[in-house]
C-alpha cells in the first residue's frame, strides 16, 4: 500500500529538514505544506526530498493539512499520515499507525501519548494477554506525571468535551499524529482552518461512523517544540473556532 505523510509547516526552517530526513527513512512520499512561512521552510523541505506545496498566505494548520491531504489523494495514496513539523513526533510510530488500517481493522488511527504497547512494556509489566497486537493500554505513570498540573486539567476538560460533543472516548486529544484510509481522507471535510481542526476530525469520525482506534505513540519534548507548542489560551481560540465553524457551515 502506498503511504503518504503530510506535514504542515509554518516557519520551521530549523527543524523541517531533519524531520523530513527521518520520515523519509520510513516512507518515501512526503508532502510538506508550507503555510505562508516567512523563512526558508519551503526551500529546506524541497532540498530534503519532500514534495512541497506552498500557501501564498498563512491559513493555519487545519487548512494546510487539508491541502496536503488533497495533494496526497491526487498522488494516489492509500493511507495518509499527518505529522508535525517541529520534530516532537517519532517517525518510527508511522508504521504502528498504518498497520491497523492496512490490516482492515479501522479507517482512522489516532496517536495517543498515554498508551503503551501491549507487546512491549505493558505486556511484561502488567501481564496483559495482548489479544490485539495493534492496540495499547493506558499508561498513567509516564506522560501524565511529567505534565504540569494546569496541562493535566486542560487535557481532562478537553477529553470530557470531546466525549460530550463527539461520543468518542479517548485517552489523548489534539495529537497531530494520525492516519487515515484513502476513503476516510477522501470523505473528510475540514472547515476549521486553525487549531480547531483536531476536534473537527474527531467530529468527522463520529459523523461518518468510521472505525477508529488509538495507537501508542511517543512524543519527544524538546526545548524547540515546547516553545512552538500550543499555549493554554489556545483552548479558548479552539472553542471559538468550533462554534464559528458550526454557525457558518453550509
Amino acid at each position: 500500500m502506498r503511504v503518504a505523510v503530510v506535514i504542515p509547516a509554518y516557519n520551521e526552517e530549523k527543524a523541517i529538514g531533519k524531520v523530513i530526513k527521518e520520515v523519509r527513512a520510513c516512507c518515501s512520499h512526503v508532502f510538506v505544506v508550507d503555510d505562508g512561512s516567512n523563512d526558508a521552510t519551503a526551500e529546506v523541505a524541497r532540498a530534503a526530498g519532500a514534495m512541497v506545496l506552498r500557501h501564498v498566505l498563512n491559513r493555519g494548520q487545519g487548512a494546510a493539512l487539508a491541502t496536503g491531504i488533497a495533494a496526497a489523494l491526487e498522488s494516489g495514496a492509500d493511507i495518509i499520515v499527518t505529522f508535525d513539523a517541529d520534530g516532537q513526533m517519532d517517525p518510527k510510530d508511522i508504521a504502528s499507525l498504518v498497520a491497523p488500517i492496512e490490516a482492515g481493522l479501522c479507517d482512522v488511527a489516532l496517536g495517543s501519548r498515554f498508551l503503551v504497547r501491549h507487546c512491549e512494556e505493558a505486556e511484561g509489566r502488567r501481564g496483559n494477554p495482548g489479544r490485539d497486537r495493534f492496540a495499547g493500554v493506558r499508561d498513567d505513570n509516564k506522560e501524565r506525571q511529567r505534565m504540569p498540573l494546569i496541562r493535566k486539567l486542560t487535557l481532562k476538560v478537553a477529553l470530557a468535551f470531546t466525549q460530550l460533543t463527539t461520543g468518542l472516548k479517548l485517552t489523548d486529544t489534539h495529537n497531530g499524529l494520525r492516519a487515515f484510509s484513502r476513503q476516510a481522507a477522501f470523505d473528510l471535510e475540514l472547515h476549521c482552518d486553525r487549531m480547531a481542526h483536531a476536534s473537527e476530525i474527531l467530529e468527522e469520525i463520529n459523523r461518518h461512523g468510521w472505525r477508529y482506534r488509538e495507537v501508542p505513540v511517543h512524543i519527544r519534548y524538546t526545548e524547540y517544540s515546547m516553545k512552538k507548542g500550543q499555549k493554554l489560551s489556545g483552548a479558548f481560540k479552539i472553542l471559538r473556532d468550533l462554534i464559528m465553524s458550526s454557525w457558518t457551515r453550509e
Binding site: 505544506v33 505562508g36 514534495m51 506545496l53 500557501h55 491541502t67 488533497a70 482552518d193 464559528m244 457558518t248
Partner: protein
C-alpha cells in the same frame, strides 16, 4: 426645533436619498434598500417628533422613549456584529479555498 434636530433630519434625508439613488443606479438589493429607507426615515421621524418614541415605549412597557431607542440600538448593533462575523468567517473560508487551489495548481506545474 433645535439646530441639532435640523442637522440630523437633513442628514437622514440625505442618507435616504443616497439609498434611493443606489437602488436605481447600482441595483442595490430592493429588500435592503427598503430596510435602509425605512431606517433613515424612522430616525428622522424620531428626531423631529421625539414624543413618538414615548408613545411606543409606553405600549411596550418601557418607561422612557429614549430608553427604548437605546435598547433597540444595542440589539441591532449586536445583530449586525453577528452578521459581520459570520460574513468574515465565510470570506476566510473562501480565501483558504483560493490559496489551496493555487498551491495544488503550482505543485502540478512544478
Amino acid at each position: 426645533m433645535f439646530a441639532f434636530q435640523i442637522i440630523v433630519i437633513l442628514f437622514c434625508l440625505y442618507a435616504a436619498l443616497r439609498v434611493w439613488q443606489k437602488m436605481k443606479v447600482r441595483g442595490l438589493n430592493r429588500r435592503w434598500a427598503i430596510f435602509w429607507l425605512v431606517f433613515w426615515l424612522g430616525v428622522g421621524l424620531v428626531v423631529a417628533l421625539p414624543w413618538t418614541t414615548s408613545l411606543l415605549a409606553a405600549r411596550l412597557g418601557v418607561t422612557r422613549g429614549v430608553d427604548l431607542v437605546v435598547y433597540i440600538a444595542i440589539i441591532a448593533l449586536f445583530y449586525f456584529i453577528f452578521r459581520l462575523t459570520v460574513k468574515i468567517e465565510k470570506l476566510e473560508g473562501n480565501i483558504t479555498k483560493l490559496v489551496r487551489e493555487v498551491a495544488l495548481k503550482d505543485q502540478t506545474k512544478g
